[in-house]
Amino acid sequence: MVHDFGFIWYIALTDGIVSSILLAAACWLINNNLRYYQPGKGSYINLLMWCLSLAGICTAGCRWIIPYLSISTVYMHFLSQSLTIRFFTDFLAIGWMAMISMLWYSQQDHKQTEKRKSEAEKLARDAELYNLRQQLQPHFLFNSLNSINALIGFKPNEARKMIHQLSDFLRGTLKKDDQLLVPLNDELQHLNLYLDIEKVRFGHRLDTEISCDKHCGEGLLPSMLLQPIVENAIKFGLYDTTEKVTVSIRGEIEGNNLVIMVQNPYDPQTSRPKGTGFGLRGVQRRLYLLFARNDLMETHQNDNIFTTIIKIPQV
């Protein structure tokens, strides 16, 4: 174009190359800037200022750099005459670039947020499914049904009794709202249903001792908190040893706390070295969420006895 105005090719090319490089640098700068910083609704004016000043810098660049490369008075005159138009062309180009990159990056951003959101939803769904499955306890359920299947043949009355126990237990599990605080007595009643079923399955090996006086029976605890602890105790007790197993549950009021201790035998030789299972971690997490304290559950292992102690502050 500059050539058309009657300048020699050398001057035209230098002009063209220098202004293009400057413009490209400005565009790159604004594009990069927008990649990491998306202007909020109110700060578009800032962006405008940016574009203006970049256009200014480009034009000024042309004004100062080109004379170094080619000196011709006619051309200098032409250059200073065309500065305004150069400025506006630069401004338009940079503004255009800014707009495109803004749209592009905000769309990218949007896509990523969507992706993160769907991932988070998937995680939540998985956790919920896991919880549901835990509540159903398929292993416990199918084995109990198998025991009923056996009893039907020769002890139909006991089979019937076990069906009732199992139904009551499942109904109780479904009804429970785990946000609620319930008296220990209620919780023990529900637990007893579970223990009775386990005793039908493992009658020859499983014994339970529950001690809790009238006073501590009225102590409040989050519902279904004791269940995973006792399940854990029974699982460890029954699958870690081959002898008779006594699981004991003791409740006490100590000062302002309801203290519950669950004990089961275990074998330190064959136990998984990890110690606390997933069930117990869940209990600890719940206690933390409810009372914002991490010291409410402890476990001890000695003399082949595994002890879990939980404290529930009473209000």
């Binding site: 398929p138 198998n146 299947n149 056996a150 043949g153 020769f154 070295p273």
Partner: protein
């Protein structure tokens, strides 16, 4: 007459099997009922049964771990209530299994299939493949079950110092002594956690936490000195692997 054992830790579950088996009383005789894998091992040794009904989840050692310790494997019909991993393994190896609670019809089918049986050799091969598959399950990574004489020993993997190939067996060395396991070195290389165990030599695998230092030995080879004082040869490729794991 076929000789059978019923191995399950729940008495009522055994009773179902016994009840259903009465229909086959002219073909199958139940020699004994067993409460757990240890009793099962003893009874298998004593009665040399043709068929066992085996529960998977049992105290101390599960059904698979028990089978690993049996030398002449009988035919097995597995019974389990719920064990995703085991069920996948059964299906992959076309082995018959009963999901508790199972119906009489389903049970009869399994037994008839056994009676109309494939050659014993083929069955054994299937069972072996199944055990191989099961022992690479995450639950089995934490311990090694071995037999010493008539006793069963459960070794937590954290107690293992090193492993040494020994003909068709592998010797598992712990503080208390060494135990033979009828598995190959390749098997252990696949199942043990590669962050803690490195195969430093064709015939050796070492728990890296046990290594105190590594000395140059002959041309291209090294010696790993363990806390217990044992000296383990390290081959050229073993040294490369070791350096990778230790990050040096």
């Amino acid at each position: 007459m076929k000789r059978a054992l019923v191995i399950d830790d729940e008495p009522l579950a055994r009773m179902v099997v016994l009840e259903y088996l009465q229909a086959f009383s002219d073909q199958i005789e139940v020699m004994q009922e067993c409460n757990d894998g240890f009793e099962g091992l003893k009874a298998i040794h004593q009665h040399q049964p043709d068929l066992i009904f085996l529960d998977v989840q049992m105290p101390k050692i599960n059904g698979f771990e028990m089978l690993e310790l049996v030398e002449n494997q009988p035919s097995v019909i597995f019974t389990t209530a719920f064990d995703e991993y085991a069920i996948k393994a059964f299906e992959a190896h076309a082995i018959d299994y009963l999901l508790k609670p199972f119906s009489k019809d389903r049970f009869n089918k399994a037994v008839e299939k056994y009676l109309a049986q494939l050659p014993a050799a083929k069955q054994n091969k299937q069972t072996e493949e199944l055990l191989e598959a099961v022992s690479s399950s995450p639950a089995q990574h934490e311990r090694i079950v071995v037999k010493t004489g008539t006793k069963v020993k459960i070794i937590p993997v954290s107690d293992v110092i090193y492993l040494q190939a020994d003909d068709d067996y592998v010797s598992v060395f712990t503080q208390e002594g060494s135990y033979l396991k009828n598995k190959t070195m390749n098997f252990f290389e696949q199942t043990l956690d590669p962050r803690y165990f490195v195969r430093v030599h064709r015939s050796y695998m070492v728990a890296i936490q046990q290594i105190t230092r590594i000395d140059p030995y002959e041309k291209d080879s090294h010696l790993a000195i363990l806390k217990s004082g044992a000296k383990i040869p390290v081959s050229k490729t073993g040294y490369v692997k070791l350096k990778q794991v230790l990050g040096i």
